[in-house]
């Protein structure tokens, strides 16, 4: 029984497919019935099962283009079999997109314009034109114009085609390239008309315009990506630069402090979900930044007081002990939170800003860039403009003398370590915007962080900043041509070669404090 049914369905389906081919240019409806009953009749025809009547009805309703019919169509669709559903899907998409053209949400207007443009149906031209007349958003306007030109390019009107091709060139529309190339190909045929050749010349000029623009856009995007990756590397390494660079402690659990920051963000999010009104949810991320900083700093303080303080000056033991701690923390997170958690980026950090044709700058990445700049500024202020910073620097440069002068070196050690850990927590919080929250999160980043700090030169913040810019930028420069896998390999090889030439990194501490 099932088999028979599916064969019948298949039959109607393929029949419908054949009918659809002439659907766009199909017979025009000339019946001059009163509008209300006409619509009702068409709606009834949709589920009549008669192929010809169905096609006519779909076409008529498309021309009518009344989005108010959607609920009725929805009803028909729910009760219909597959062939009817397939038949009315394009109609429903068309009507829905038309309705969305006047939506208050600019993203929806834009999506609708794109979809109508790619539907290729000339009957949507007036809809797009009327939407264009009332549109104020720059990028929705752009998309409307692009869609209009694309439909006109596919139409039969030769003058309109040439104008559309020129317009698409002006718009620098990357979406038009395949269609334009096809036109050039058509003109290359032996039986090409003069008109086609003229059109091909216009298309060629348009493609050139688009290509030049695309290479600029590409360069711009590459630079942005490089800066974005650098900012992520920087924010990860800042904490390490303080703990490892300034204090000389090799903290293998640094990545897990990031993980703690990420989970702190997750917990904050869950608390907002559970205890606060939904309207406030978008602000959880602002709250989670201080929370993750504090919790990671506290964990750092405990780690310092219980393990690391007994191991100052014994790097190997520190390394082993902190590595053990990192394993414990990973497994603890796995046991308590499980492997499946994630943070939903607040709405003001999802999506991206379009700055030029084809170039999107995601908000979350812009946010991380700004955050890392703020962190660097904050660290510089703290170290070089405050009394605490003075003491920290004094202890790092000459512990014995500082102690002699009455600085509580043990306390300073603890605070410095906690501050470095807090920065790691903040990095973890920022990383939830681009990645996921999982127990192994720190492991993914710890190697990169060490690489940045060592390349930059241990003990120099400037080195960390320059190294992260260099490694991030180089990575994004190499990745397009070498692929992600070999790009990464190449970066590691370059870093190894560089460190062989300059074992102490980019910037080295010179003078009396070199061995301190």
């Amino acid at each position: 029984m099932n088999g028979v049914l599916s064969i019948v369905l298949l039959g109607t389906l393929s029949f419908w497919g054949a009918g659809q081919a002439f659907g766009a240019e199909g017979p025009r409806v000339t019946t001059a019935a009163p509008p209300l009953s006409f619509v009702d009749k068409a709606l009834a025809d949709l589920s009549s099962g008669d192929q010809a009547r169905q096609d006519t009805a779909v076409l008529a309703l498309s021309e009518q283009g009344d989005p108010a019919l959607l609920p009725k169509l929805e009803e028909i669709r729910d009760n219909a079999d597959r062939s009817v559903r397939l038949a009315i899907k394009p109609l429903m998409d068309l009507l829905r997109n038309r309705a969305n053209l006047s939506s208050p949400d600019s993203d929806k207007r834009r999506s609708a314009a794109t979809d109508l443009g790619s539907s290729g149906k000339p009957l949507v031209i007036p809809w797009l034109e009327s939407a264009l007349a009332g549109e104020t958003n720059r990028w929705v306007r752009y998309t409307l114009e692009e869609s209009l030109a694309l439909i006109r390019l596919a139409s039969d009107n030769p003058d309109g085609k040439i104008k559309a091709a020129a317009k698409l060139g002006e718009l620098r529309s990357p979406n038009a390239v395949p269609a334009l190339k096809e036109l050039i190909q058509q003109a290359g045929a032996t039986d090409a008309t003069d008109q086609q050749k003229v059109l091909a010349n216009t298309a060629r000029a348009a493609i050139e315009q688009i290509d030049i623009w695309a290479s600029w856009a590409n360069a711009f995007e590459t630079i942005f990506r490089g800066i974005s990756l650098s900012s992520i590397l920087l924010i990860m390494s800042l904490g390490l630069a303080i703990v490892f660079g300034l204090m000389g402690v090799i903290n293998m659990a640094h990545g897990e402090l990031m993980m703690i920051g990420a989970y702190a963000t997750f917990v904050t999010q869950e608390c907002f979900k559970a205890y606060l009104p939904a309207g406030l949810f978008d602000y959880y991320f602002l709250m989670s930044m201080p929370v993750s900083f504090c919790i990671a700093a506290l964990s750092g303080l405990i780690l310092e007081a219980t393990i690391i303080r007994f191991l100052y000056g014994r790097p190997l033991e520190t390394m082993l002990a902190t590595w053990g701690v990192s394993l414990v923390l990973i497994q603890a997170a796995r046991v308590y939170f499980g492997d499946l958690t994630s943070v939903a980026a607040p709405s003001w950090l999802s999506g991206g800003a379009q700055v030029m044709v084809g170039v999107y700058l995601p908000y979350n990445r812009i946010f991380i860039i700004v955050l890392s700049i703020l962190c660097v500024a904050g660290i510089y202020f703290l170290l070089f403009r405050t009394g605490i910073g003075l003491r920290v620097r004094a202890v790092m440069q000459n512990r014995g003398m500082s102690s002699c002068l009455g600085i509580p070196t043990r306390k300073v050690d603890a605070y410095t370590f906690a501050f470095g850990s807090g920065l790691a927590g903040l990095a973890g919080c920022a990383l939830t915007l681009v990645g996921n929250v999982e127990p192994g999160l720190g492991q993914n980043y710890i190697v990169d962080s060490f690489m940045v700090v060592v390349t930059g030169g241990v003990g120099k913040l400037t080195g960390t900043i320059v190294a992260s810019l260099g490694i991030g930028g180089l990575n994004k420069l190499l990745e397009p041509s070498f692929g992600a896998v070999y790009g990464k390999v190449l970066i590691l090889v370059l870093v190894v070669l560089f460190l062989q030439r300059r074992p102490s990194g980019l910037f080295t501490i010179k003078g009396r404090h070199a061995d301190a």
């Binding site: 990357p174 995601p362 992600a484």
Partner: protein
């Protein structure tokens, strides 16, 4: 599905593993060896004696004893996230059978659970332990291809029986494994065919994107061959791999955007594990929509979506043989039973647990084995194997049928669209069951897999 070198062929692996085993055995000193062989001879003599004299008594006793089965899934390490669910499923199926009236020929099942800890060598060791020490009748286990490849020589040498429940890259045809997951022609190929069809959007350009290991590379090799065979120009196929745990998808999404300009493009994703979230997030943030360029994923199922932020994934596609949303009475019961089982046993997340494709495959694997044992009237591997051929079972996702000869499973293929709640809306369904092809017709048209008329993999004429 596993991180191993693609060039490492099955045969090499088998040989290598066999050599290691031999080397390990010959490592013991001569005296030990003599003493051991003495014991073995003595043991064999006693066994033979018992076999002759007390055969009847023994077999009677064995009839009452529970049947031991092995469960070989990682319960710790990186793969635990996926494999723990499968252990739970097998245990649930066992409990179901033990609570039924007839059990298995009146005998209860006693599961032996071991933890290979996501460590491929440990998989082989634990498999050996299950087969030789615990003497289990059958093993349910493995997830990654590398773990399956590492236990394969153990099962073949000792004539064990493994039910493997995960979709994989094919190109394997073992006498000792039943594959209840999908072969490439039951997941990847129908998915791409759907995308090419009018109903699926008539896509013309394909971006094959995966994590760098054997499953994505083999699958993409087959897909590329298939696309070329379907007259898709090579310029319209892009292929790219990322390392494990890759987080920065800016450049790749940028490339996809360029590739997709002008429409008609889709992404075929075999990205695995924790790289998925950064990828989907970046995809959405750079202004790409599921309508323009849908991502068809082969490694994203309900269990992975549970607890994930699905905002960026909604509208994208996946291909499997089963979804929790399959609307059949037996599936409703299965989902409810599974949730109840997790709650009753205080498993993490309890009632919030979901079922997915590998879970279903692991579940019906146990039942197929039970049916075969009853049909064969024995738990002997050789008899059970014959009974499995061609057997049918009403699985939660619908009726499935074990193949007559090639050790794989005839299953339906379903394309699903990701919904906000982490479930799937089924948008396409194959007509009837799809016959499994361990050797793809596109990359190995000359090879077949048949254990009835041939000895496993054979050359077609």
């Amino acid at each position: 599905m596993s991180p191993t070198d693609e060039s490492m062929k099955k045969d090499d692996l088998v040989k290598e593993a066999a050599e290691t085993t031999m080397a390990a055995e010959s490592g013991s000193s001569r005296r030990e060896f003599l003493a051991q062989s003495g014991r073995v001879v003595a043991g064999a003599g006693v066994a033979a004696l018992l076999g002759n004299l007390g055969g009847w008594a023994l077999s009677y006793a064995a009839d009452k004893e529970p049947i031991k089965i092995g469960i070989l899934h990682s319960l710790s390490g990186t793969m635990a996230i996926s494999e723990v669910s499968l252990r739970d499923t097998v245990l649930m199926a066992v409990e179901e059978i033990n609570n039924s009236k007839n059990k298995v020929m009146g005998r209860t099942i006693q599961p032996v659970v071991v933890d290979p800890a996501s460590n491929w060598d440990l998989f082989a060791e634990k498999a050996k332990q299950l087969l030789l020490v615990d003497k289990v009748a059958v093993v349910f286990g493995c997830w990654t291809s590398v773990s399956r490849k590492s236990v394969l020589p153990v099962f073949e040498k000792n004539n064990g029986l493994l039910f493997y429940p995960v979709q994989y890259e094919g190109e394997e045809c073992s006498h000792n494994v039943f594959y209840t997951g999908a072969a490439v022609n039951q997941q990847a190929i129908p998915a791409v065919e759907y995308l090419m069809s009018k109903e699926g959007g008539g896509f013309k350009k394909f971006y094959l994107l995966g994590t760098d290991y054997v499953y994505p590379r083999t699958t993409n090799k087959i897909l590329r061959a298939m696309l070329l065979a379907k007259k898709v120009p090579a310029a319209n196929i892009a292929e790219e791999y990322t390392p494990f745990h890759h987080q920065d998808y800016q450049t790749i999404v940028g490339k996809v955007k360029k590739f997709a300009a002008g429409g008609g493009a889709c992404v075929i994703s075999t990205i695995n594990g924790d790289s998925n979230v950064p990828f989907y997030k970046e995809f959405a943030n750079q202004g790409l929509r599921a309508e323009d360029a849908p991502i068809m994923a082969f490694s994203v199922a309900e269990d992975e979506l549970r607890g994930m932020d699905t905002t960026a994934l909604v509208g994208h596609l996946a291909a499997w043989n089963y979804y929790q949303s399959v609307d059949t009475p037996q599936n409703k019961k299965f989902v409810a039973d599974f949730k109840a089982y997790c709650k009753k046993n205080n498993l993490p997340d309890g009632e919030k647990r979901v079922t997915d494709d590998p879970i279903e495959a692991a579940y019906f694997g146990v039942h197929i084995w039970k049916q075969a044992v009853e049909k064969a009237g024995s738990i002997e591997v050789d008899k059970v194997r014959k009974a499995v051929y061609g057997s049918e079972f009403l699985a939660p996702g619908g009726k499935i049928k074990m193949d007559e000869a090639n050790h794989h499973t005839n299953k339906p293929v379903l394309i699903g669209e990701i919904l906000k709640d982490g479930q799937f809306k089924i948008v396409s369904r194959s007509k009837g069951l799809v016959k499994p092809e361990p050797w793809s017709e596109y990359t190995s048209p000359d090879k077949g897999c048949d254990w009835i008329k041939h000895q496993g993999t054979y050359q077609k004429k």
